[in-house]
Amino acid sequence: MDTVLELDQVSRSYGRGPHTVHALRDLDARLHARTLTAVVGPSGSGKSTFLQCAAGLDRPTSGTVRLAGREISAMRERELTRLRRGRIGFVFQSFNLLPALTVQENVLLPLRLDGERRDPARARRMLARVGLEGRAHARPGELSGGQQQRVAIARALITEPDIAFADEPTGSLDQGTASEVLGLLREAVSSHGATVVVTHDPTVAAQADRVLRLSQGRLVQDTAPRGAVRDAAEALA
C-alpha cells in the first residue's frame, strides 16, 4: 500500500527542565492511502499534538514527519503554508468557516488563495457531494451545525488533498448528524488520499480502518477494527 504519512521517532515536548511536558514520545506511524485512521486516547494523551505535528501545524522537537515522501518537519513556514493549502485538508470541531463569506466562497477559499480562478461549477459539484446543493449562496450563520461541518468537509476536500485531518469533527453534533458527517469522511477516503480523525467518540473509532490509541504521548495500541470484522467475515465464509 502507498504510504501517505510517515512519522519517524517523533517527539514533542513543551517547556524545559523539571517542568518539561512530553506530549509525544518517540512515536512511529505509517498511514496509507485510502484509509480512515482514528486517533483515540484520553484528554492529554497527545492526540492533538499528534495531529498538529502530522499536519505541519507544529514542529516536532525531534524525529521526522514525511508527507507524500517530502519531509515536512524541516520545512519553512511559507513552504508549509503552501503545502497546507494544496495537499492537506482540515476540519475542526467548530469555527471552521469565515462568517463573512458565503458557503461557495468558503469552499473555494483554498483554491483562490492558491491563485486559481474562481470556479463556481467545481464548488457546486463538491457541495452536491456533501448534500448541500442549492446552499452555495447561504452564509454560515444560516446553516445548522451539521451543515456547517459539511461545508468544512467540502472545503477540506476541494483541493483533492493527499491527506485530510479532522479534529473532533462530530464533537458538537447530535448522533444522527454525526454519523452523516462521518459517512462523508469515509466516502472521501475512497476518492482521495488518507483521512485522519482525532476523536473521543467510540462510534467514530469503530468505523475506522485503523485505530491508533495514544496514552501519555506514546502509541500504545494499533488495531484495525474494520479489517478485523472483514477478516472474521471472510473466515466464516
Binding site: L109, L113, R139
Partner: protein, 441 residues
C-alpha cells in the same frame, strides 16, 4: 445596590481579563482625552488668575474656547470607544446572559468597569496634561505671548473638570452600549458563525443620523445669520454635529465606500481584495466604528488648516497640532482595537492556507476602504461647514492650497494603514492552530 457589589466587581474583572485589548483601548482613549482637557483647562484657569490686561483677556478667551472644544471632543471620543469596547465583548456578555446574568447585572458590570478605567486613567492623563500645559506655556513665553504677571498653575480645577468629563462620559457611553448589548439574544451572539460587528443597523440609528444631519445644517444656517465672532466659535460645534451624524450613518457610509472601491479591489486586489470586500460588507458596524474617528481627524485637520490660512500665529499652529495629534491618536487607537479582535479569523485563514503576506494584503485592502470612507466623510463634513461659513469668518475653503489637501490625503491614508496593520506582526506569530481555538486577545 452599591456599584461595588462583589459579584459585579468580580464580573467586571473577569470581563477585563477576557479581552485585555478592549480594556487597553478604552484606557488609552481616556488618557488621551484627560491629557488634552487638563492642558486646556489649566491654561484657561492660569489666564484667569493673571492680572487684567488686553493680552490676558484674549488668552483667557482662547483658553476657554480650547477647553470647550476639547470637552466636546472628549465626550464624542469616549462615547465611541466605550460603545466599541462593549460591542467587542458581545460574546462574553452573551455567555453571562446564557448562564443567568440579568441585563441589569451586565449594565452594572459595564458601569463598574468604566468607573475603574476612569479612575486609573485620570492620574496618568492629568500628569501628561500638566506636562503638555507646561510645553504650551513655555512655547507661548518664547513667542512673547504670555501676559505680564501670568504663571502656569495646574492645580485642582483641571483635575476636577477632567475627572467629571471622564466619569460622566464613560458612564453614559457605557450605559448606551450596554443597553444595546443586553438586548441581544444570547444565542445569537454566542454562535460561532456570528460576524463580529455584523448586526444590522436599525431604524433608530438611521433616524438619529438624519436628525443630527438636519440639526447640523440648521446650526450652520443659524451661524451664517449671526455675527462673525459667533460664527467662528460655532464652527467646531457644527462640525461635531456633522461628525455625530457620520458616526450614526457609519454602516451606510461604509457600504457606499465598499461599493465604490469594489470594482478596483476586484480588478487589482486579487483574492485579498475579494475577501476585504466581503468582510467590509459583513462587518458594517465595525467599519462604522473605524470610519468615525478617521472622519473626526480629517474634518478637524481640514478646518484647522483652513483657519491657518487666515492667521498663522504660534497659538493657531499649536491648536492645529493639538487637535491633529489628539484625533490622530484616537483614530489609530480605534484601528488597533479593531484589528486585535480578529485573531481567530486570521488564524483560520492561515490554517486553510493563507500566507502571512496574504493576510497582510487583506488588511491593506480593508484599510483602503476604511480610509476612503473616513477621509471622504471627514472632508465632506469640513466642506459642509466651511462652504457656507468660511467666507464669513475670513478663511474661505478656497484658500487651502491643493498640496495641503494632497498631503492630508497621503498622511491620513498612511496613518490608517499603519494603525490597521500595526498589531499584525504579533498576531501572525501566534501559531494558527492556537489562534483558532483562542477566544480573544
Amino acid at each position: 445596590m452599591s456599584l461595588f457589589a462583589p459579584t459585579t466587581t468580580g464580573l467586571a474583572t473577569a470581563s477585563v481579563r477576557a479581552r485585555p485589548s478592549a480594556f487597553a483601548g478604552t484606557f488609552a482613549a481616556l488618557v488621551f482625552s484627560a491629557t488634552v482637557v487638563t492642558a486646556c483647562v489649566a491654561l484657561a484657569v492660569s489666564a484667569a488668575k493673571a492680572p487684567v490686561s488686553p493680552k490676558q483677556a484674549e488668552l483667557y478667551d482662547v483658553g476657554v474656547a480650547f477647553s470647550n472644544l476639547t470637552v466636546y471632543l472628549a465626550i464624542f471620543v469616549i462615547g465611541q470607544v466605550m460603545s466599541l469596547a462593549v460591542a467587542q465583548r458581545g460574546r462574553e456578555s452573551a455567555l453571562l446572559r446564557a448562564i443567568g446574568a440579568e441585563p441589569k447585572q451586565i449594565r452594572r458590570m459595564v458601569a463598574t468597569e468604566a468607573l475603574w478605567t476612569s479612575v486609573l486613567a485620570l492620574p496618568v492623563g492629568y500628569g501628561l496634561g500638566a506636562l503638555l500645559a507646561r510645553v504650551w506655556f513655555d512655547g507661548m513665553a518664547a513667542n512673547g505671548m504670555v501676559p505680564d504677571g501670568m504663571t502656569l498653575t495646574v492645580g485642582l480645577i483641571p483635575l476636577f473638570t477632567t475627572a467629571g468629563v471622564l466619569v460622566v462620559c464613560s458612564q453614559l457611553g457605557g450605559m448606551i452600549a450596554a443597553w444595546r448589548a443586553s438586548r441581544t439574544r444570547p444565542s445569537a451572539a454566542l454562535a460561532d458563525s456570528a460576524v463580529q460587528g455584523g448586526g444590522r443597523a436599525g431604524r433608530v440609528r438611521a433616524t438619529a443620523a438624519v436628525a443630527f444631519l438636519v440639526g447640523a445644517i440648521g446650526l450652520s444656517v443659524a451661524a451664517g445669520a449671526g455675527s462673525v465672532e459667533d460664527a467662528a466659535s460655532e464652527i467646531p460645534v457644527v462640525l461635531l454635529a456633522y461628525l455625530v451624524a457620520i458616526g450614526l450613518a457609519g454602516p451606510w457610509i461604509g457600504r457606499a465606500a465598499t461599493a465604490v472601491a469594489a470594482p478596483l479591489l476586484r480588478r487589482y486586489g486579487g483574492v485579498a481584495g475579494e475577501l476585504a470586500i466581503a468582510g467590509a460588507r459583513a462587518r458594517s458596524r465595525r467599519l462604522a466604528a473605524a470610519i468615525t474617528p478617521i472622519a473626526m481627524m480629517t474634518a478637524f485637520a481640514v478646518v484647522q488648516f483652513v483657519s491657518l490660512t487666515g492667521e498663522m500665529d504660534w497659538m493657531a499652529v499649536f491648536g492645529t497640532l493639538l487637535y491633529a495629534g489628539f484625533t490622530g491618536l484616537v483614530a489609530a487607537n480605534t484601528l488597533v482595537m479593531l484589528t486585535l479582535e480578529r485573531l481567530r479569523e486570521f488564524s483560520l485563514l492561515r490554517t486553510v492556507g493563507a500566507e502571512k503576506r496574504q493576510v497582510r494584503a487583506i488588511v491593506v485592502a480593508e484599510s483602503a476602504i476604511t480610509a476612503l470612507a473616513g477621509l471622504g466623510g471627514g472632508a465632506l463634513a469640513a466642506i459642509a461647514v466651511l462652504a457656507p461659513l468660511g467666507q464669513k469668518v475670513g478663511t474661505p475653503l478656497s484658500g487651502l492650497p491643493v498640496w495641503v489637501w494632497a498631503a492630508m490625503l497621503v498622511s491620513g491614508t498612511g496613518l490608517v494603514l499603519a494603525a490597521h496593520c500595526a498589531p499584525l506582526a504579533r498576531m501572525l506569530r501566534v501559531r494558527p492552530i492556537d489562534g483558532v481555538t483562542r477566544r480573544s486577545t
